[in-house]
Amino acid sequence: MMVEGSTRNLRDLLERVRNWALANSPWLVHYNSGSCNGCDIEILATLTPRYDLERLGIKLQGSPRHADVLVCTGPVTRQSRDRLRRIYEQMPEPKFVVAVGTCSISGGVFRGCYNILGGIDEAIPVDAYIPGCPPRPEAIINGVALLLKQLQPDRVDEIDNLMVEMGIDPHAIPQEEDLTDEYADPIGIR
């Protein structure tokens, strides 16, 4: 009985260490399954030094074999369904999928087109949805943070603090003025 109990404890401990490591070093791989490139540009903006996601341990990887999180943009076209599935299957377990942008959730403006299957979840299982057309970097970080909080329920406060440091309110409901870019004003674009 004692042996059984201690092996269970050990397994629990290993599981916790594994979860901690996973939540602290999510490596991304990015795939565009038919997007208009708007969301891709926002993802690249998220990875720039202004937000510096390396603080959360997030790194963009080239190879799906090295990645933990598949970041998908755009609706799934019939052409790209097999590629998307192959990339998903090349990733080692445990793996997560984040759908970025309205199109990746429902198909967006392309919904109903003859060559569109719909959202990412028509092809592969999705763990987190990030709405927006395109979502701002803060929204993308919020979505990834929600995924991390799911993995580590007891570290929610720490992740929230990090987001506040980045200038993001973790509980905010987006308002109209949040959705416009303050840096666009001086050069006259909205």
Binding site: V17, R18, W20, A21, L22, N24, S25, P49, D52, E54, R55, G57, Q61, G62, S63, R65, H66, D68, Q90, P92, E93, P94
Partner: protein
């Protein structure tokens, strides 16, 4: 008790686990400084540890068309080679775990095992990115290896040319270096070649053509996941520490006597790391043919020029 002491030295500190932990810590300093130079905040202190643990806990996929034995054995061989090379080096200014005449040459060859294993790992998978990466890795080995080894043998060769007793034993060399002016000052050319050779060995920018993310995904290790990738990363982390410590022992004043020696020695190796990171930040990636011509046209010539200078000084002294 001697067995317990030896095992502790081998497994925990200064070699073995202590070396790996130090490697991950040095990797964090590397990434943090790089981030600060790029005006970012950079990763948290435990980032490399979390990365290594996560990779160790992940599924390992063995792609079709590879030999199962080689696929599993190459990462282990790479890590084992690097850890063995660490035994003869005075890590953190402490006496080496296992020292014997000629260990300088043995260590240098064991340190190249990582690059060879990386190349073989890429060459035996069928992915085109891995193959290109492997080809570049092997090309780079042939480019930097000769000048790097010559540069690290230089302190000893310089002593012999100058008519004093040289040695091929790292510990003896490090102790005799403590009683002279720094070799970095008396042999500046080979010192530069040694630092830049270390960057080539670790595939750091500007010598990161073998794993150029923008061209060939992740180079030779594209198909590796989970445990294999983790072991290769740990090997590279340990090699960073061993390389820095080796150059510190040979070129930056060696290992003297006294209680403060380990602290000063480690501080010197960290200073060397700062130089390496600054070079990484400033320089852009070289094409693989540029790397080769840099090493053969400039690197080896610098080493030989340094030897000639010593020889000429000695001949003039004898003549005058």
């Amino acid at each position: 008790m001697a067995i317990v002491r030896d095992l502790t030295y081998l497994m925990f500190f200064p070699a073995g686990l202590g070396l790996i932990a130090a490697g991950l810590f040095y990797q964090w300093i590397d990434r943090k400084l790089l981030a600060r130079f790029q005006n970012r905040l950079g990763p948290r202190w435990f980032q490399p540890f979390a990365d290594a643990l996560k990779l160790l806990g992940k599924e390992e996929i063995q792609p079709h068309g590879t030999s199962a034995f080689l696929f599993a054995a190459l990462p282990i061989l790479a890590l084992a080679g690097v850890l063995t090379a660490g035994l003869a080096v005075p890590l953190f200014g402490l006496p080496p775990v296992f020292s014997f005449p000629g260990d300088l040459v043995v260590s240098l060859y064991l340190l190249s095992l990582l690059m060879l294993c990386t190349g073989l790992a890429g060459a035996q998978t069928r992915g085109r990115f891995s193959l290109t990466g492997a080809l570049r890795a092997f090309t780079q080995v042939f480019a930097y290896e000769a000048p790097f080894i010559l540069a690290l043998l230089s302190p000893s060769i310089a002593l012999m040319i100058a008519g004093e007793a040289g040695s091929w034993q790292i510990w003896e060399l490090a102790q005799s270096a403590a009683n002279r002016p720094w070799f970095a000052l008396t042999l500046p050319f080979t010192f530069i070649v040694a630092i830049i050779g270390l960057m080539g060995k670790l595939e750091l920018p500007p010598f990161d053509a073998p794993e150029a993310e923008t061209e060939i995904v992740a180079g030779a290790l594209t198909e590796y996941s989970g445990r294999g990738l983790a072991l290769f990363n740990l090997a590279r982390a340990a090699e960073l520490v061993i390389g820095l410590m080796l150059i510190t022992a040979l070129y930056l004043g060696g290992v003297g006597d006294g209680l403060l020696v380990p602290i000063i020695f480690t501080a010197k190796s960290l200073g060397l790391l700062v130089i390496v990171v600054m070079l990484q930040t400033v320089l852009a990636r070289l094409r693989i043919d540029q790397t080769v011509s840099l090493w053969w046209k400039l690197g080896s010539v610098l080493v030989i020029a340094q030897w000639l200078i010593i020889l000429i000084i000695r001949v003039l002294n004898l003549g005058g």
